[in-house]
Symmetry: C2
Subunit: 494 residues, 2 copies
């Protein structure tokens, strides 16, 4: 059964902040570039199989705005390299967009959901944050919800709406108000924390978030513990009646289901990339320059990824095992992220500083212990996936962490996965990995050493089992399971 069968009867409306295509203008020429990554591929693939589908998203680039205006804000078929799905770009006022994205979604919601605030000192909710919510997050969500509602209404009020992520918590509530007969499904790609974490927001804001999400029929998370936390929040913060066994909550005469679907990657697409000449060339270069042991990490440069403690653990590893001097490299491919948010600027600076310190302490004229790259070229990343001996994923908190899944699939060096117990991926891959305790730097150092010195046979078996798990639980399955639940819901309603 193909994933598409699940919603074949209903029009499908996808909604996200970042869409499946981004337009740019170079030398006077417009380019429509499809997003890469499993999520966009999977959802665009799904939409391509549905007779009537449209993807509503924010016009992020200047050229996106130009395209949106050319189509009078209506849906259109992307040109050129774009995906095979109709797209409706929603233009936001620049000030609304900035408040929505760079004040509320990041860092405020992101930091709450990853438990990253230094609560003794920050955040302060001031007029700035209240204003950014009221005049940024709310109108941005309203604009997207209105575009969705128009698409639904133009189809007679029946459709399946699939909302993506933490930027759009208010969309489902507003769409529900306008279109009571719609099926609303929301997937949250980041962790959902325990109720107290939400108390950082004043009641007006946190209740708006919860009530918005409760507009859905189904709220999907990566892991059971996030689904449970969501329901505990409905209980503690809103006083709603929840059923922790059936994972449901009653609100306004409706039943909202919390479900979990671990996201994954597209194995075929990734294998194709791994075999491409560009990746092979990067791989060759890595092989020539490498030391005996290659430790790898790949992240967006985000505090949730726990990059600093990873380097502190490596520092301890080198202290504890002088025999590793000049024989190991820690390759860190860190993609700079959210550079308009001060917390991210500071964090990147701390990373640079720590790398310099560790390299100064342990390095020699001809050996740089930590090689930090801020380039983020995906071909280089895949080449490194193929080549590592140990992959470090020591996240403080991470909804899933697709790096672990990608790396398990394409590694060709009997590489060992070392995965944080706080990464969503640990639920599926933990049994084949070396466990990392994200706050225990000594344990991380010991775990790196255990992984580096693991017997070859055991490495091979663990890696093969991890890769098989990822192949079986691919992104198509992630989507299929959601569609199955949507179909079931529709049949119940019919």
């Amino acid at each position: 059964m193909g994933p598409q069968e699940g919603v074949a009867d209903d029009p499908l409306i996808l909604v996200s902040n970042r869409g499946p295509v981004e337009h740019t203008r170079n030398d006077g020429e417009r380019t429509a570039k499809a997003g890469h990554g499993g999520l966009v591929t999977a959802l665009a693939g799904l939409a391509g199989h549905i007779e009537d589908a449209v993807w509503v998203c924010v016009a992020l680039s200047d050229e996106d705005v130009a395209v949106a205006r050319e189509h009078d804000g209506e849906a259109f078929e992307p040109e050129g390299d774009g995906p095979a799905v109709r797209v409706r770009l929603v233009e936001l006022d620049g000030d609304v967009q900035r408040k929505f994205y760079a004040v509320i979604a990041n860092p405020l919601l992101w930091f709450i959901q990853h438990c990253l605030w230094d609560l003794g000192r920050s955040p302060d909710i001031t007029r700035r944050e209240i204003d950014a919510f009221e005049n940024g997050y709310v109108p941005a969500n309203d604009r997207l919800a209105d575009a969705v509602a128009e698409e639904v209404e133009s189809r007679g009020g029946r459709a399946t709406v699939m909302v993506q992520d933490y930027h759009l918590y208010l969309v489902p509530g507003r769409v529900r108000d306008r279109c009571p007969d719609v099926i609303l499904h929301h997937f949250v790609h980041i962790p959902w924390p325990h109720p107290d974490a939400w108390r950082v927001l004043p009641p007006g804001m946190r209740e708006a978030v919860f009530n918005g999400v409760l507009g859905n029929d189904i709220v999907g998370f990566h892991a059971r513990r996030y689904a449970r936390n969501f329901l505990l929040g409905c209980d503690e913060l809103l006083g709603l009646v929840v059923d922790m066994d059936r994972l449901t909550v009653e609100v306004g005469g409706r039943t909202v289901r919390a479900r979990y679907y671990p996201i994954s990657v597209d194995p075929d697409q990734l294998e194709a990339t791994a075999g491409s000449p560009a990746v092979v060339e990067h791989e060759r270069r890595l092989a020539v320059n490498r030391r005996d042991h290659l430790i790898l990490r790949v992240d967006r440069a985000d505090p949730s990824k726990n990059i600093l403690r990873g380097f502190r653990a490596f520092d301890i590893l080198l202290d504890d095992h002088p025999e590793l001097a000049e024989r190991v490299t820690f390759l860190a491919l860190e993609q700079p992220s959210r550079e308009d948010v001060s917390q991210y600027v500071d964090y990147l600076e701390e990373i640079r500083q720590l790398v310099a310190d560790v390299n100064r302490k342990h390095g020699t004229d001809d050996w740089t212990p930590i090689e930090l790259s801020l380039e983020g070229d995906f071909d280089e990343v895949v080449a490194a996936y193929k080549s590592f001996d140990v992959l470090v994923v020591n996240a403080i908190s991470d909804g899933m962490n697709l790096v672990a899944k990608e790396a398990a699939l394409v590694n060709r060096s009997d590489g060992v996965l070392a995965i944080s117990e706080n990464a969503g991926a640990f639920e599926e891959l933990g049994e084949f990995a070396v466990t990392l305790h994200p706050f225990d730097v000594q344990q991380q150092a010991d775990a790196m050493f255990a992984a580096l010195t693991m017997d070859g046979q055991e490495r091979r078996e663990r890696l093969a089992a991890a890769a098989a798990t990822v192949r079986e639980n691919d992104v198509a399955k992630w989507l299929r399971d959601q569609l199955h639940d949507i179909r079931e819901l529709r049949e119940e309603g019919a």
Copy 2:
């Protein structure tokens, strides 16, 4: 019915880090000073009514150690001003004591339980923390548990043991192992956070904590939400079977009950202090020097108390309401605390700096907007309780907060309580208070203004209702409710 009736049949053994008496030596003279505060008074009062009772605690001062040695580590009747209960002082090695108290209990456990770690950066669990647990927290708990077990065994193995607080999580497990027939009751005086907060500790440490506490028959907290969090942790971190309706967990063939008993104060004792000449003299001095409005806060200088945001809110209040210039004083009585822990030293410095900044910005030659006192004289505190117009309790997280209860009882100025929704006291006093949202400094500023300008009749009614609530739910009731549950348990077992 007096509180004592509940355990009249059994010997009673109290256990805590700080005991009911502290010995000092001045000019060659030994003094035995009874601890003050409702807890010590209540428990010592209880013990005084039990035929056979002993209080096991750590010998904290040098003179305590001398006394412990004089009694060969056995129990004794404290001399002079001491309480009417036999005391057994347990001497700890200085290094054990330091690791136990200043590394593990504070800051590590305290910061976890109040959600104060800046998780992107700290804490690091290193060899130092592992060592402090293994060679500090564990042996300190073992020493106290062994002293308790000896007291139990010398009484034929039957007794009621009441353990206090977060210093002693391992005591119940070890006592249970040695004395299976004992009734073990533990009261945790600080918040118990959601399960993920405990993941800061590596599994060996967090499982030791939970398994130690699970040696009890009853675990008492201030509030239902802490009891629930404890059970959620037993479920998520240990995989035990919990019953969230009955608030119980099954472990090793036993049922452990999570219960909640909000702690309180001794109204008569406090009223007596409030009427003392020393307090009246302080009060007179406050009245002479005061401006139109007196805002008060009283805390240990602890990040959980949210002192910085309170001053930032006051800064906003003065910005927003220039008519208050020279007419309001924010009196902050902050008791320096844990001065051997770097986080506390830093925090106090941040407080001083911020107070200086706000005073420089708003003050005049003859008006100091924030008066910061680091003295912590209790007579001065009680005088301030009697005199405030607004009391600010904006805690980030606070097990109970007795300041709110003490202040409600003795205030004579129609003072308004402004209480954080995250303080345990909010459950009882919130309906008579102005609510504070601890991260929302603008809201705190607005709430201070609302409180300062509240109608006199409403102030009087709210304060009277709050005081009546505290009087009714006093510390004797706190103890009575616990003894009731212990008695019930003993009757079930009999």
